[in-house]
Amino acid sequence: MAPNKSRGKPQQVGAVMVVGGGMSGIQAALDLAESGFYVYLVEKKPAIGGVMPMLDKTFPTNDCSMCTLAPKLVEVGRHLNIEILAPAEVAGISGNEGNYQVEVVQKARYIDPSRCIACGVCAEKCPKKVPNEFNQGLSARKAAYVLYPQAVPLKYAIDKEHCIYFRKGKCRACEKFCPTQAVDFSQTDRVLHLEVGSVILAPGFQVFDARKKPEYGYGRYPNVLTAMEFERMLSATGPTHAHIQRPSDAAEPEKIAWIQCVGSRDAAMGRPYCSSVCCMYATKQAIIAQEHDAKIRPTIFFIDLRAHGKGFERYYQAAKKLHQINYVRAMVSRVVQNPRTHDLALTYVDETNRIRTEEFNLVVLSVGMGVDPETAALAHKLGVMVSPSNFVSTGSFTPVSTSRPGVFACGSFTGPKDIPESVVQGSAAAASSARLLAPVRGTLQKEIAFPPEQDLADEPPRVGVFICHCGMNIGGVADIPSLVESARTIPDVEYVQENLFSCSQDSQNQMVQVIQEHRLNRVVVASCSPTTHGAMFQTMLRNAGLNKYLFEMANIRNQCTWVHQGEPEKATEKCRDLIRMGVAKARMLEPLKYLSVPVNKRVLVIGGGMAGMTSAVALADQGFEVHLVERLEHLGGNARKLHSTWRDERVQVMVDAMVAQVEQHPKITVHFLTMVTEVSGSVGNYKSKLSTGQEIEHGVVIIAVGAEPLRPEGEYLYKEHPNVLVSLELDQELARRTPRVKNAQAVGFIQCVGSRIPERPYCNRVCCSHSVENAIRLKRLNPDMEVYILYRDMRTYGEREPLYARARELGVLFFRYNVDDPPKVESEGDKIVIRFVDTDLQKPMELRVDLLTLATAIIPHQNAPLADLYKVHLDADGFFAEAHPKIRPVESTTTGIYMAGLCHFPKPIQESMAEALACASRASTILCRDTLELESITSRPIDENCDGCAFCVDACPFKAITLLEYMRDGNVKKTVEVNQVLCQGCGSCMATCPKKGIYVAGFTLEQLEAQVDAALGIS
């Protein structure tokens, strides 16, 4: 329960309830807990994580899903200000925004979490087997079980429905054998009455039940699987330990087919929307399947290939060209099983209009997303409005707000979406709550307390070595037991153990205990990369009472077993060397003093479009001072050129309202006709100089500079014929109902102009929907007008799909063209003739139109100067690069710099605004603090050795070193000084210095020499 530190009874409550422990809920919970609020995280299952732990790898980076999620899971599990209630469900709600009373039923798990050590004996002894839902029923678990190996909280539970004791009054084996007497059959469900200021709904999605489409044979033919089942099969912790095999005979399949859109784009099934992620996940599964087994030949049967996110188009093109995945644009109407071989025959019409039948060894159904009935019922109970498909109705300008004030929603509950968008919405929902509850920030927070750090004085090193299996990633290649053996023989090593997953919460707790019990004073973890879990292990040391810099990681995964999968013996030897090197350095590590800087709570927002304004208002409403820098003399950006959204909301009204809000806000100062010219400092303490000469000191910066439309001069008669427009121009004409639009008898659209081509290999995400919306408007204006859309793939994703259907119903004609033979356009007086080959009919076509609209690319501004100023990266297409495409979508690699909107990637208004809110949320985790802890791995001069030659000053890329002079013994002594805030510990100075006059704490020359000696086997 949250301690109530406020005086008297506050009107608002400084706590928030997040319903749903998937990725979106987790992000919301972390943001809120890190910015001063107490969070109740209510999860229906016994552990948080949602769907992400079930995934093997995620597109487009092919990172291991669990690896990207685990740090967040552990952070949530350890966070003092997040209370996980699992398994638990919301029963009812009353009250108003700022002050809600929520009734939560905490379900009994029949195991006392305070005693459970997750040893697994109860599951071992339990005689009752139950289909394992986490493995999609492909394997069994016991009635006493843990949801998945890295579960947070890592506690077991007893499934009352299947437990023999509950059903027949017998057994109780778990209770008998539990070493800590944690089994408690007398537990009952408890009803909690919790007071919160707001509620965030993040209940996630349910996978479509493929049995509803029996023509595909799911549930009938053993070798037809859902994509989720296949995902488990690909996973190291799955039912076949990542071995791809057919259920019917365990043979390795060669030909695998994916059938797209199962339970999506299917009005007859009540699922008219597109699930947004399946084209990408099928591509990913095909690529990863080949990685597992090179003889696998994947074929993907699809309608439109929807690779509409950042990096997706490249991923798809690589899949086709590099990985040779066979994409067949044909829908398969049924699956026929060969009764002798259990192979599956699919019949389809190929792109030359011939009927083909092909046999596959395995068929994977790309099942879509939906809202489960329980979630729909919860929405109803809470009075939250939903769409006909049960997704929460949100507005484009309020992307995470529900119809009930103070109740927000995020993730797939607001519509099918992928992980980065879910993370963005989680943060956006947090920002919305924080904005509401800013006055009571900090009133209900608990404070963190590490145990005091031991003074090691002259204690000899006692090194602990923890060697991680990382599931199969390391354990499947290297001989871990042998590594444990040899580690024990290294001098100064007092303790060695192996872990299955060192990053799991349970392992962390156990390691803390081991460190304390064995009085270890140096820790080596041989596992993954420091960028993955380094910080987490450092915190583990602090929890054990050790200085966090007495820690060393040996990267035996990314730098060893992942690279040398084909040579396990050599890989093992390399691991042995790496571990020895790790210990060699560890013994020489010294504790380092923790550094911190004060945080300047002022915010700089660059860009006054919808994204920039949204971030500015979201932070200003929380009481932070915001300076908004805008290049032009007015606010509004690109939104000024839009008429309506895909939901028919009028854009200009909202833009005007937002502009008024910004201009009148007491906490926002707008600088028009201004740009940033110079930048110094780092997070918490930036100094940005504006073109007006003014210098702003601020703690964080949000980049929302937008983008611009491509003007395709010379293409398709643009600028040569007056009746050729780009989309934004058509918007203007539609808004004004110009005569040529009203009187047009035929209007044509050409999609993908300047997009998805080698010079610009990305999809612009908004154009298919935008053209469809405009086509519908044209038809409404004049139902007899001929409207033609020439496309490559129709990418009306998510709930935009019904718009595409509507357009077809209204008589809009869609023609598909091939990028290798694009349409040719000729002038014919006032009219324009479009000639192309329709790929479905395989015939040349000619269309005569009065107006031609080109759906052109959105291109980034010249972002390099701004990127250089703040030392952030741009991606290959010139957009700002985020820290991680999946789980850190609005942050740059440099802490304290965020990005939102078109400058990150083309996207519609609602997504730009969600990102802007997310930036505000992420920024507030820094702004709400008075000080920020810094890294202590920084360079330190050794005055005795330094003679002031200043080579290091030039070498430093961060301009952190300055030359000084002082008087000593009557002589001038030159030396250098390092700015600890700017120094990033890169070591360039140390590498340059010829006098051993400067060193990087934590990476001294002696330490590095010891590592080299260890590598060479000298010591």
Binding site: G217, R220, P339
Partner: protein, 283 residues
């Protein structure tokens, strides 16, 4: 149980054996089939290919008569069932008033298989079984008109119906699952385009054999005719020697329940099932 019975024209003609087995089984199951008074031909495929109004009016008249009889109506013929359902939709829909036939729609239209596989019958059957069909290895063949189009037939499981399989299991056999149970046999094209029948039915034989089956069980007499009458012709055409008897599901019920007249009905099949039944120890 009493229900109105709409036999349809072919049950009085080429499918008299089906009609006989239905009558026989009805008595064994205590079902009273009351033939619809003054029923007329439903029009089947000929009417709806010539005249829309006639095609609706023919079956609609039967429904009005059935309503007067005040009971649900069951039709053994899949085409009749389908046409009666089409008429029902038309009568209850916007076209209804144009037809000039009064119809309240308070009765249910059953196809015979659905009717006889209701829970009450399935539960009562095991105690009545006297002959073991255990060794028989059939595939169930439903055909298409009883299930499709679902908007007309109101069937929920039109892609993978399983009631015939459930029936056979209750009778003691293990029907074999296969992917072709609702594939078309060619239906009324038997006379005009026997070559199409050959292609479609040949595939059904091959797939049934691949699945390990030795006979078909059907509920539609059109399917029975196509699978049974053309077996010799198809054997010759494809150089095979197919022996795949085609049973009506009612004949199997009768066999299992020991109806003495069963051999008489079976004798009217072109592909003689007796050798198979003797080999399996069923007769």
């Amino acid at each position: 149980m009493k229900v109105t019975y709409y036999p349809g024209c072919s049950l009085e003609g080429t499918a008299v054996d089906y009609a006989a087995s239905i009558a026989g089984v009805a008595s064994q199951l205590d079902v009273e089939l009351v033939e619809l008074f003054d029923w007329n031909c439903c029009g089947a495929s000929s009417a709806h290919s010539l005249n829309h109004h006639l095609a609706l009016h023919l079956p609609a008249r039967n429904l009005a008569l059935a309503e007067q009889a005040g009971r649900d109506v069951v039709a053994p013929c899949a085409l009749c069932f389908n046409r009666l359902k089409v008429a029902e939709k038309a009568l209850l829909g916007p076209e209804g008033t144009e037809l000039g036939i009064a119809y309240g729609g308070g009765l249910k239209i059953w196809d015979l298989l659905d009717y006889l596989t209701q829970d009450t019958f399935l539960k009562a059957l095991p105690t009545k079984v006297v002959v073991s069909l255990m060794n028989l290895r059939p595939v169930c063949y439903y055909g298409c008109l009883v299930a499709r189009p679902p908007a007309v037939t109101d069937k929920a499981d039109y892609e993978n119906p399983e009631n015939m399989e459930r029936l056979l299991e209750v009778l003691g056999t293990q029907p074999i699952d296969w992917s072709f149970k609702t594939d078309c046999c060619g239906a009324g094209l038997a006379v005009a385009r026997p070559d199409i029948i050959d292609t479609l039915v040949h595939r059904l034989y091959e797939q049934a054999l691949a699945a390990g089956a030795e006979c078909f069980v059907v509920s539609c007499q059109m399917c029975q005719a196509n699978l049974d009458l053309s077996q010799e012709r198809i054997s010759r055409k494809f150089g095979q020697d197919y022996y795949l008897p085609v049973f009506y599901f009612t004949e199997l019920i009768a066999l299992a329940l020991g109806h003495p007249d069963t051999p008489k009905w079976l004798a009217q099949h072109v592909v003689d099932p007796m050798p198979l039944l003797k080999m399996k120890g069923i007769v």
